[in-house]
Symmetry: C2
Subunit: 313 residues, 2 copies
């Protein structure tokens, strides 16, 4: 767990001569670093939410960036979220719930603030994208993807982890996955599906039992630590019992609505690229020097899609 450089060097020197001739296999991080620029896809400013929390105890800003999902997933709720951001609806909202190994959740703690006009009521059937893939066009499968506990298979679609299950026609249903950092739409009891005004981010082990039961609308791509390191709420379900513990939200905006110079620029590694396939293989079979026994597989949430700021050129 310490990986000091000197120890790496020492370990290499300690190897018998034959093994020294073979360079150690590249780590997942080395594969990402070596990916050609053309394998990276810019995240559009119109698909990026910028959430600014009140500064922390030391006066330091806390910015959380959330990438919204592409079609065909969850677009009804995402349309609502765009309207809520445009209306500056969250500007006096707060993070109200932090439950350990589960979620941090934000919205209107009073549950009384009127919503903007024109929000859609989205049906439960939209938790799943129907007949999304023909059986022969499912994209890149994960190594050992047949051994997922929750779905027939898992794969990646345009940079997002998804679960896929064949229907009787040979086409496939697909749905987005609750991995660490996933952002979903809080709701009350079924058949309510929530508007998008109440959102949460996953801050623990992937709660995959929520898949197809709550809408996943995006993922935190930067600043998750401003949510995951918040004090846990001591009330039921991790709600803060004392209103003073809530973390005020200064604003949530679509990045495209900010002045050009203020727009965060990020890119993700194309999940259709050869680099990503090599990265996924390396995650499933770590052969860099720290490891003794390669796992021989990886669950989809242990293959996080690489995302990074776009370097100034």
């Amino acid at each position: 767990m310490k990986y000091p450089l000197l120890a790496v060097v020492a370990a290499l020197l300690a190897l018998p001569a034959k093994a020294q001739e073979t360079a150690p296999a590249p780590s997942p991080g080395e594969i990402i670093d070596a990916a050609p620029p053309g394998d990276w896809i810019a995240i559009s400013a119109s698909d990026l939410l910028v959430m600014d929390l009140a500064p922390d105890g030391k006066g330091k800003g806390r910015r959380v960036l959330i990438q919204l999902m592409p079609a065909p997933f969850s677009q009804g709720w995402i349309g609502n979220i765009r309207k809520l951001a445009a209306a500056h609806w969250w500007d006096d909202a707060s993070v109200n719930r932090v439950q350990d190994n589960y979620v941090a959740q934000w919205g209107d703690a009073t549950e009384k603030k009127p919503l903007p006009d024109g929000l859609a009521t989205v049906p439960e059937r939209d938790y799943i994208a129907r007949r999304m893939f023909a059986a022969d066009a499912r994209g890149i499968a994960l190594p050992a993807s047949g051994r997922d506990s929750y779905a027939e298979m898992t794969t990646f679609h345009e940079g997002w982890p998804i679960a896929v299950e064949s229907d009787f026609t040979g086409a496939s249903d697909a749905w987005p996955i609750h991995c660490y950092g996933a952002v979903g739409v809080g709701r009350d009891m079924s058949p309510d599906t929530g508007t998008g005004a109440e959102l949460y981010a996953v801050i623990g082990h992937a709660p995959r039992h929520l898949d197809r039961n709550i809408a996943v609308v995006g993922r935190v791509i930067a600043g998750i630590e401003h949510l995951s390191s918040l004090p846990r709420g001591t009330g039921a379900l991790g709600f803060y019992e004392d209103a003073a513990d809530r973390v005020p939200i200064l604003s949530i905006r679509i990045a495209g609505d900010l002045p050009d110079a203020d727009q965060p620029k990020f890119e993700f590694l194309s999940t259709g690229s050869e680099s990503f396939a090599r990265y996924a293989q390396a995650r499933a079979n770590r052969r860099d020097p720290f490891f003794v026994t390669p796992a021989g597989g990886a669950d989809v949430c242990n293959v996080p899609v690489p995302i990074r700021p776009v370097a100034a050129r």
Copy 2:
């Protein structure tokens, strides 16, 4: 994500008459609450580590309880940990590393403090318990346990999640699993396996690729929030760059070495009990009213073994 009582009532009233006649299936929590006292097993004070961190910014105590694994797993490292606790070795140690969605790690930040005499050097082969089960005596399998991404199967042994793989003789190798809250032994590069002086707890999605690569020695059963909500380190691998950010450890003791009245008393739900089997099924197929689509399976880390304080009688 809100589950208010009124909404539950409203949802029930809204159902057609026929559905109202059937009570909703019990939730995992309800199954735990209904488990008879005989299904609970007390955790021995000799298998419980009590870690007291320095009080938080508001002067509040921070106690973390760690249950140590039973034989045949990791006993060499656990023997070392018992010696380190008996020697009060950690009393001026600290939490030095907090990496988001990964681990919080503690030990001697100087890496210079002499270790007590008599610690064992444990070999890598002890990451795995060999020929632990005959093929026909593997214990209770998880629903859909055949679909684990990392092992032939996963199950529970005396209250602990383990992975199992047949060897060529028909017997089975088994190893403990890095779920959320698992405690492991930090080490440098292989073939070093660490002494147990440097420990970490998992505070994110189960890093199962560490299974069979690092020794798992226990799990946090209370107070994980005192580790998981710490500020993330900004140095490489989440190490704190400023020594002032480290969280001092006041002491780590085996509970049995504390005065009787100070010994925390906890119990876990027997993983061989009928209650546990029902609980695991309910985790894999949530049918309580909030859920729309039961998952049909669960990964082993999404079936946390229920653990609770022993109620005063």
